[in-house]
């Protein structure tokens, strides 16, 4: 099927990863190899076999609508790189020139 350099760059952008030109050159063939390996599944999957999304044949697993205690705020925020006023502090969302 052929994964192009541009497609890898697009994926990297969607995943918020910065990838150098050299890495793009290296990654494209690697991804290509992985995808063709997985694509072999298509050789045995006939048209009447739907793609598998779930490995176990379960449906309708639900819980009753009952509230349970949440985490204490300090614990909820404990893993955050930065906090302010009981909230998660995140970097500027939009670039200044956007």
């Amino acid at each position: 099927m052929g994964i192009t350099r541009d497609e890898v760059a697009h994926l990297a952008r969607l995943s918020r990863m910065s990838v150098t030109d050299d890495e793009l050159d290296a990654l494209a063939p690697q991804l290509e190899a992985i995808l063709s390996a997985v694509a072999r599944v298509a050789e045995v999957a006939a048209a009447d076999i739907p793609p598998t999304s779930h490995a176990v044949p379960l449906t309708n697993v639900m819980r009753p609508d009952v509230a349970r205690p949440s985490l204490p705020v300090a614990e909820a925020l404990a893993g955050a790189p930065a906090t302010e006023d009981g909230r998660f502090r995140v970097p500027r969302i939009l670039d200044p020139d956007e």
Partner: protein
């Protein structure tokens, strides 16, 4: 139009409408009124301190696994059924992948190509005309967190130095209700949201408070040139999507503004950009929202951590059978049974007294009297007290009793108000208040006649004027009698009695 108007001067709304036909579709998000979140047991109360209603699941911590809330599914099916949708016999949740701090998982669990409910409709009435709005789909998803943008002007994301996120709302169950592009005017758009809100309120599956964001609406608007007679419809134009309209009025105003704005651009020969826009309530204008350089690519895929939903037919049928009377059916019934007009019903609903009026009629009041007392006296008292008519300490049965006493002449309207005072002050039932305050109209002609004679005797000069034909001079005498009777007489009867006595009737 050959002369292009300057871009700053929008054509008037009427002018825009004369030349272009608006095509409007609406996407409405409704927070479901469950006790716990969609995929975890965190509570959903509005207004809690930031990040006090979060856990590993809704914070997206590694290893945490979601489990679907049964009530959220049930509520979503009820909404679908009330909108005449087909309920999927099998469907899955999907991951919508995007990087934005309002979702800590970096994806939102939603539904994509397998929505729970499809192909429904809702009838909307505007000025006596019924518009059927097609419902494309109703799907389930989770709400996002709330961001506070710091360092920019008036909390806007533009110019902010950083943002603060509260994940209490993240994971609250939502349904998104998407219409066909069937709506052709801002008035119908507003009426649709109003009717949808009423429907969901009737189902009791959400508190639908637009001002708190538990019901919010996005409006997709495009224009196409009106065809000349005999010409086929033009294809749809490019649409804009105005996000997060949080009042009925905003829905109507934003759509109206977009119609003028787009007409202005089209007149100038410019194309409409497909973009999300933000409505500024104060200015009454829309402006471009967050810009997205690349086309949105959410890379949806089936959510592996949740099992598919395969709701049994019997389950759906039971929910269908258990639906309450829906607003349209109720309106038809109230019009047929009680003789109300559509306008009456709108007034009663807007005043928040429709249920109360219906209960008052059921308790024995006439529809006219029930409407009159709740819509005027009681709605005003609730407003004065800064509360809702529902919260008044007087029951529909009390009001029914009072209206019966007024109808039989035992109370005047003025006395009835005093009875209401007493009931609201906790003095008991209307009958107890009447007994306690001595409020019944005195029907005993002896006491009344004595008071009339006394009043005439005390003011012979006035009596003489009235006898001489100056009928309007009788006022002070009426006042004197009413005072003597401590208000427990009917002023009109007193007047009649005085005039009769003075030979001036």
């Amino acid at each position: 139009m050959s002369t292009a108007a300057p871009a700053s001067a929008l054509p008037s709304y009427a002018d825009a409408l004369a030349r272009y036909e608006p095509v409007i579709g609406l996407e409405t998000h409704v927070e479901l009124g469950t006790v716990s979140k969609m995929f975890c047991g965190c509570p959903t109360a509005f207004g809690a301190e930031p990040n006090t209603q979060v856990c590993p699941v809704c914070l997206g911590l590694p290893g945490a696994l979601p489990v679907v809330n049964e009530a959220a599914v049930r509520f979503a099916v009820m909404i679908g059924l009330a909108l005449h949708c087909d309920i999927a016999s099998w469907c899955r949740f999907a991951r919508k992948n995007y990087f934005y701090p309002d979702m800590p998982k970096n994806f939102q669990i939603s539904q994509f190509d397998e929505p729970l409910c499809t192909d429904g409709w809702l009838d909307v009435e505007v000025d006596g005309e019924v518009h059927r709005v097609g419902i494309t789909r109703v799907h389930m998803e989770e709400d996002t967190g709330k961001s506070l943008h710091v360092g920019g002007a008036t909390g806007r994301i533009h110019g902010a130095t950083h943002s603060l996120v509260d994940y209490n709302r993240a994971g609250i169950p939502l349904v998104e209700i998407v219409t066909e592009p069937d709506v052709r005017s801002p008035e119908v758009a507003r009426a649709y949201v109003d009717e949808l809100r009423e429907l969901i309120r009737t189902l009791d599956v959400s508190d639908v408070r637009m001002e708190q964001g538990s019901l919010r609406c996005d409006a997709n608007v495009s224009l196409r040139r009106r065809p000349a007679p005999g010409e086929p419809d033009a294809p749809f134009g490019t649409r804009s999507e105005t996000k997060n309209l949080n009042s009925l009025r905003s829905v109507e105003r934003a759509v109206r503004y977009e119609i003028s704005r787009q007409a202005g651009r089209l007149d100038d020969g410019e194309r409409i950009r497909q973009e999300t826009r933000h409505f500024d309530e104060a200015a009454g204008r829309t402006s471009p929202g967050r810009s997205k350089e690349e086309a949105t690519d959410y890379r949806y895929f089936p959510e592996p951590d949740l099992t598919p939903l395969a709701l049994p037919v019997q389950y759906v049928d039971e929910l269908r059978a258990g639906l309450p009377e829906l607003p349209a059916a109720r309106r038809a019934r109230l019009i047929a049974e009680h003789g109300y007009t559509v306008r009456d019903l709108t007034d009663l609903r807007n005043a928040g007294v429709l249920d109360l009026v219906e209960q008052t009629v059921a308790a024995g009041a006439t529809p006219v009297a029930a409407r009159k007392w709740w819509l005027n006296e009681l709605a005003r008292r609730a407003a004065d007290a800064g509360s809702q008519p529902n919260d008044l300490a007087i029951s529909p049965a009390d009001i029914a009793r009072i209206t019966v006493l007024v109808a039989s002449g035992e109370l005047t309207d003025a006395l009835a108000r005093k009875v209401i005072d007493g009931v609201l002050a906790g003095e008991g039932t209307p009958d107890e208040v009447i007994a306690g305050r001595g409020l019944a109209v005195v029907a005993d002609d002896g006491a009344l006649t004595a008071a009339v004679d006394a009043a005439i005797a005390t003011a012979p000069d006035i009596a003489e004027k009235v006898r001489g034909g100056k009928v309007n001079a009788v006022g002070p005498l009426v006042g004197a009698v009413m005072k003597a009777m401590k208000g427990q007489a009917d002023a009109a009867s007193v007047r009649g009695l005085l005039l009769e006595r003075l030979g001036a009737s």
